[in-house]
């Protein structure tokens, strides 16, 4: 009996040592075989639909660079991935950070300047950020969309102020994605900060409005798709499994009705609400990652911003092109059903980076306190 245990003990020590050796060997042996290579480009991104197989292989054929794409969940995941991998040099290019995350990425010193000199990017696209640490590649305005077949002035009147939505007729009929977990939701919350600072005398407009919305049974969803596909009556959600259709207004892009029309033979009942300062201008960026292969990254940025690729943003990626003189296509009523808000909310990337925690906290208090 004792002897048996002895054997086991010997086995244990040996095996433990062996485990460590084997694992280290396996990991270092297998993993580090391919690393720094002049001919490769590692792009960190999320499901950016413009980055199609065809588009990538055209780039690969022209430049001889081999592209590997690390695909993450969303803009926030890109930021946190870059932070975790900071200083490793494993990544070359980040595509998909937006202006709500950009400044944080800059503060963390994750990006390096692009050497490209791309002409023809619209001044609008540069408006949230003008430096070289991030080059805009697509953009859009986040605003309220409503179902024009119900919000027709008879059943429900078209809001002329966000305060209208706190009234009885809108009880339980507004769906908004959470600013905590959804990027359109966050954009809209940021817009409301600016909106109430301008339209309300008291500082508390923001808090009061969100509390009143809560009291008016606003539907807060984790993501954009739940709000738009499950609750919103104006969009394609009604054809999707799980549709409930209890909300007639939601947060999406100002050109979402255009996309609806484009897919539906120039028809949609969804419309965007043009309220001053109640919309948020979102820009998505391509950024050279610090420590990565800047040369190859710049080549890809140039390609991404070339006419042939960037002009396709509206149909490939459902966002605006950032190039001067490009607009949404007329085809299928895409442009006709899209609006450009007269006056976006004015929130800088810097302010977002500094205050986002405090603002989300404020939003949370407004939503939970005095319930």
């Amino acid at each position: 009996m004792n002897f048996k245990n002895e054997t086991r003990k010997i086995g244990c020590t040996k095996a433990a040592a062996l485990t460590i050796i084997l694992m280290t060997a396996a990991v270092s042996g297998c993993l580090s075989s391919e690393s720094e290579d002049d001919n490769s480009l590692v792009i960190v991104t999320y499901d950016v639909y413009a980055l199609s197989d065809d588009m990538i292989s055209t780039f690969e054929n022209r430049t001889g660079i081999e592209v590997e794409m690390v695909k993450l969940d969303d803009s926030g995941s890109i930021l946190s991935y870059l932070i975790q991998q900071k200083g490793t040099g494993a990544n070359d290019l980040a595509i998909g950070l937006d202006n709500t995350y950009l400044q944080t990425a800059i503060d963390f010193d994750l990006l390096s300047e692009s050497k490209t000199d791309i002409q023809g990017i619209s001044s609008e696209a540069y408006s949230p950020y003008e430096g070289k640490l991030a080059i805009p590649f697509d953009m859009g305005h986040i605003c309220l969309n409503y179902d024009s077949s119900i919000v027709d002035g008879v059943n429900l009147s078209v809001p002329t102020s966000l305060w209208n939505l706190t009234e009885e007729e809108w009880k339980g009929k507004v769906a908004i994605p959470s600013p905590m977990s959804s990027s359109p939701g966050r954009g809209f919350m940021l817009a409301t900060l600016d909106y109430f600072e301008y339209t309300t005398d008291s500082y508390n407009g923001f808090d009061t409005w969100w509390s009143s919305m809560r009291d008016n049974d606003v539907i807060i969803t984790p993501g954009w798709s739940e709000a738009y596909e499950i609750h919103y009556t104006g969009g394609y959600g009604e054809y999707m499994p799980g549709y409930i259709g209890d909300a007639h207004i939601t947060v999406s892009y100002c050109h979402s009705p255009g996309v609806e029309a484009w897919y539906n033979g120039n028809w949609t009942k969804s419309a965007s609400l043009n309220l001053d300062r109640a919309s948020f201008f979102q820009v998505e960026y391509a950024s050279v990652v610090q420590g990565g292969n800047a040369e190859n990254a710049d080549l890809f940025i140039e390609y991404l911003l070339s006419q042939e690729v960037n002009a396709l943003m509206p149909t490939q990626n459902m966002m605006y092109s950032v190039l001067e003189g490009q607009d949404l296509p007329e085809e299928g009523g895409y442009r006709h059903h899209s609006i450009v808000p007269d006056q976006n909310a004015n929130i800088t990337s810097m302010a977002i980076s500094l205050n986002i925690d405090a603002w989300l906290d404020r939003w949370n208090s407004a939503m939970t306190e005095g319930e």
Partner: protein, 562 residues
Amino acid sequence: MNDLGSGTYRLIIGTRTLAIAAFLLLIASPIALAVFRLIGVAGANPRAWIETLDGNYMSAGAIEFTFLQSIISSFATISLGLPVAWMLGRYEWRMQSMIRAVLTVPFVMPSIIAAMGILTLTGDSALGIRSNEGTWFWTLIIAHAWFNMSLVIRFCEPILATLDPSMEEQLRLLPAGRTISGRIRHLWLPVLIPPLSASFCMSFVFSFTSFALVRWITIRDNTLESVMAISSPSAGIEGYMAFTSEIVLASSLIQFAVLSISLWLASRIQRELQRQYPMAPARVARGHFDYGWVFMAPALLFSIAPIVSVAIGSVRVRTVESGRAADTWSLDGWELARDGSFSMVPLSDAMANSILYAIISLAISMPLGYCIASAIHSLERTNRRMSEALDFATMAPFAFSAAMIGLGVTLGVTKLDPTAFSQFWPLPALAHVMLTTPFAIRIMLTGLRSIDREYDEAARVLGMGPLARLTRVRIPLMKGPITVAAIFCLAMSLGEFGASFIVATNSDWATLPLLADSWRGMPMNPLAEAASNAVATALAVMAILLFAVAERARSNERGGMF
């Protein structure tokens, strides 16, 4: 032992220790890394974490809701599953193995597909029962019961099918067993309580950690798992939305505590109450039940309907012309999925990836699972405590959330080699191994326990060494459990979503569930849903075929845990 055998013995014990160490390292290290990172951001104050969790609008009430829905779901699972298990076990059925395969398929469906299938089925175009605040809760409960029902069947049916008939016959002749209720009280309840409570615990665990079903079916509430999923993208970033780190930590902590307790209870109950009932040598033929199909047909329909609705969804495309929507039947969704477009890979690529990763994880988790199972098995005789601890530790992957494991794997791999996320293609298979190995262990452990010890002893006195006994006695005797474990590993790996989602980072590595999810997540495009359904259908067909094969392989075996 002595000089002659000690080399081989040391090798065996060494291999086992190595397997256990490797597996525990694979599980424990990512979790530890994730926890340290999050604590670095959120501070080490569990009380504050839970206060943040409870005070946040998105997560308030998540604790209560998680408990409530998982307890009700587990009861619903039992009450739906037990009658089916009874019918299946007590009567003869034509195509018995096919029936069992069909009833098991829900369990290996990726949950997003399950959610879509259930939603289609309960939506306005079909049953029309999920349309408002009053019904979604029960839709969720039914969805969980659908998902977990096969657990009850797998746990309970074998003992129902193979219990020596004389047990009941004898009881019938005794005063206490003359009535049905008497027989239930004195025989069936004691027989069924261990498998029932084990399946209750397991469906509790799965409902507790349910994410996709909750996300798509509930309206306002969140489970701890879905809270974590929505908080995790910004968790672990210093100075940016730090409260999300607290929420993830608080949810993980509660989830881990609750799930550990239930898993521990499950294995405890099984050990304590499991008595050796005399088993008939093979299935006991009990004749047909004339109206059996009246019960079985709805059960089969219940299992298959959500999948069928997904298949139908793959050929149904919505077209809207001037405000009039019409469904047209076409293969456009299949074609889109086949060719790949936007940022999605072609269906064939995803299929190849899925198969490749399934084979790799099979190749790792089968020997790994066997080593660990036989270690636990032999420790059962020499060191019971140790074997219980190991038994429990191998269940740990079920108790951790995907979000936590994902964060940890990212941190861990970054430490080892940051380029792995774009270069090291077997990475997703490692995540699969974490989840398939516990199943392989469970199934093979049951198999090992069912092998009479004398088989091994007789082989030893015939002069067979350890290796010869393994290859000529144990493995052939374990053919059934090994086949089932293998098919289960393949199917689990094929359907795995949560972990793959996090580690299959290189877009070329997309598997079928990931591809289905990507297509499902594409907004606006009417063909995207059809494409998603097409990918899911391909996956379901593969899973059904695998299970049919598995059932055939084990058809003349005694039932095990699965």
